[in-house]
């Protein structure tokens, strides 16, 4: 027994070293798996507050560009106002009730909320964006984020009371189902972790026609985070993976990740139900296979 204590005393530095290494590596690897850091909620509040202060200063340098873009978007929104459209008068009285299902059979599936970016990088292989909306404002994991032009930015992966972390498209683990606007063909948007100016689109069959400059948009039906039609980027180089007979398209992202400031968060109201259905289906099929 005495020898054990002597041993511990003699090697206490080394043992502490090992202990701290194990803690650090445990933090690191458990985080990579679940995207949810230990104590991150707490730390996020502190870094978020400092980032907010810093951001106030930084905002000044981008004001002009940002204003121009907001103006453009306001313009496009004004164009969409119902006053711009005239209905044929059929004599039917239209009314509004509390039922979300309105009389024309439409109901609202996506809600957009504004948010401000507090911290962003492009220099890492795993880039995150911090925004100033959190669980106190009702934000949840898995919501989509677009910039003020309506171009896709990323997906929320972690939420603290007043801030959230967005996994940017410039993240080596980011996967987004998107489609080519012209042909409607589906593919997956990835990032190789090298050049922040380009994304990669894979799994597009070689049989279809693709040209430089083609738009890539969110697919809407294959991906439950984003509504259909938000711009992801444009094709800038066409490569072919001959082994698989698929295209490897180099995509120039539509969002400018270098000076993100104002973003919109997208909430899909049906999300919980859709996720549940996917999960249940999997369980059901697996159960069937095991019989």
């Amino acid at each position: 027994m005495r020898n054990i204590f002597l041993f511990l005393r003699h090697y206490r530095t080394f043992i502490t070293f090992l202990f701290l290494q194990v803690i650090a590596l445990w933090f690191l690897f458990s985080y990579n798996k679940f995207h949810r850091a230990r104590f991150l909620g707490m730390a996020n509040e502190v870094t978020g507050k400092i980032n907010t202060q810093y951001n106030k200063v930084e905002d000044f340098f981008h004001l002009q560009q940002e204003n121009r873009r907001l103006h453009r978007e306001n313009d496009s929104l004004l164009n969409m106002l119902p006053v711009n459209f005239v209905r044929h008068d059929t004599g039917v009285q239209s009314y509004q009730d509390t039922n979300p299902q309105d009389s024309t059979g439409f109901y609202r599936r996506y809600f957009l909320y504004p948010a401000t970016v507090t911290y962003t990088t492009v220099s890492s292989q795993k880039n995150y964006i911090q925004i100033n909306r959190g669980s106190n404002q009702g934000v949840k994991d898995g919501w989509g984020v677009i910039n003020s032009d309506g171009s896709v930015v990323g997906t929320i992966v972690n939420v603290s009371p007043n801030f959230s972390q967005v996994m940017s498209l410039l993240h080596v683990q980011s996967r987004l189902d998107a489609s080519l606007k012209k042909s409607g063909e589906l593919g997956t948007i990835e990032w190789e972790g090298k050049n922040p100016n380009f994304l990669t689109m894979v799994r597009v069959p070689k049989a279809i026609q693709v040209a430089k400059g083609d738009s890539v948009i969110t697919s809407g039906n294959n991906d439950i985070t984003f509504p259909k039609g938000f711009l992801v980027g444009t094709v800038s180089e066409i490569g072919v993976d001959n082994a698989q007979g698929m295209y490897v398209l180099k995509i120039k992202p539509a969002a400018n990740f270098f000076n993100l400031q104002q973003v919109h968060i997208i909430n899909n109201v049906d999300r919980a139900e859709q996720m549940q259905l996917i999960k249940d289906t999997k369980l059901k099929v697996d159960a069937g296979n095991n019989k």
């Binding site: 530095t13 650090a24 590596l25 933090f27 690191l28 985080y31 870094t47 292989q125 080596v172």
Partner: protein
């Protein structure tokens, strides 16, 4: 200003510098990310105990990690270099003068060559370990090697620039209070 405040201030300054300046410099090349937040760790006084060094290293690393959303990555590397530091200093400094007349490692206390070796070895260890852990989850081996070399080179360049631009006021330790 008390020593404790001085060192805390240094750590905060360097972490903010790293997060808001060096991580935000426009991309020159995908390999070039200058990292110097660990410099104050190399400047800690000779008198700090080895256990103390480890805990300070962990604390500084984890602070940076929570900014960069990589919990544990830099903490692990800082703990490693803080563990190696006392051995290096023992090898590199002549016992009789440096540790007893100067307070902290610096070019003046250790001579330029041993100090350069000291900074080089710890920088290489730090970047090697951080990039190794990153490489485990992503990337190719060639990338890893090239990255270690280039990041170490750019960080050393910055370190020596800092040393030359801001020579630290070195106080002699004496018996008189």
């Amino acid at each position: 200003m008390s020593d404790f405040l001085k060192y805390t201030f240094r750590f905060i300054l360097f972490i903010l510098l790293q997060v808001y300046l060096l991580n935000k410099v426009p991309h020159l090349h995908r390999y070039i990310v200058p990292v110097i937040y660990y410099l104050p760790l190399l400047w800690l006084p000779f008198t700090v105990s080895r256990l103390g060094l480890l805990f300070i290293g962990f604390a500084v690393g984890i602070c940076l990690d929570y900014y960069m959303m990589t919990p544990g990555l830099h903490a692990a590397a800082c703990v490693l270099i803080m563990y190696v530091r006392p051995f290096l200093i023992n090898i590199l400094t002549p016992k009789e003068n440096a540790e007893f007349t100067y307070k902290e490692p610096s070019p003046l206390a250790m001579q330029w060559t041993p100090f350069a070796v000291y900074v080089f070895v710890l920088t290489l260890l730090h970047h090697g370990y951080v990039l190794f852990l990153e490489w485990l989850s992503f990337g190719s081996f060639l990338d890893f090697i090239v990255k270690v070399i280039i990041t170490t080179a750019i960080s050393l360049l910055l370190t020596f620039t800092v040393e030359l631009l801001f020579p630290r006021r070195l106080r002699f330790r004496t018996n008189t209070p």
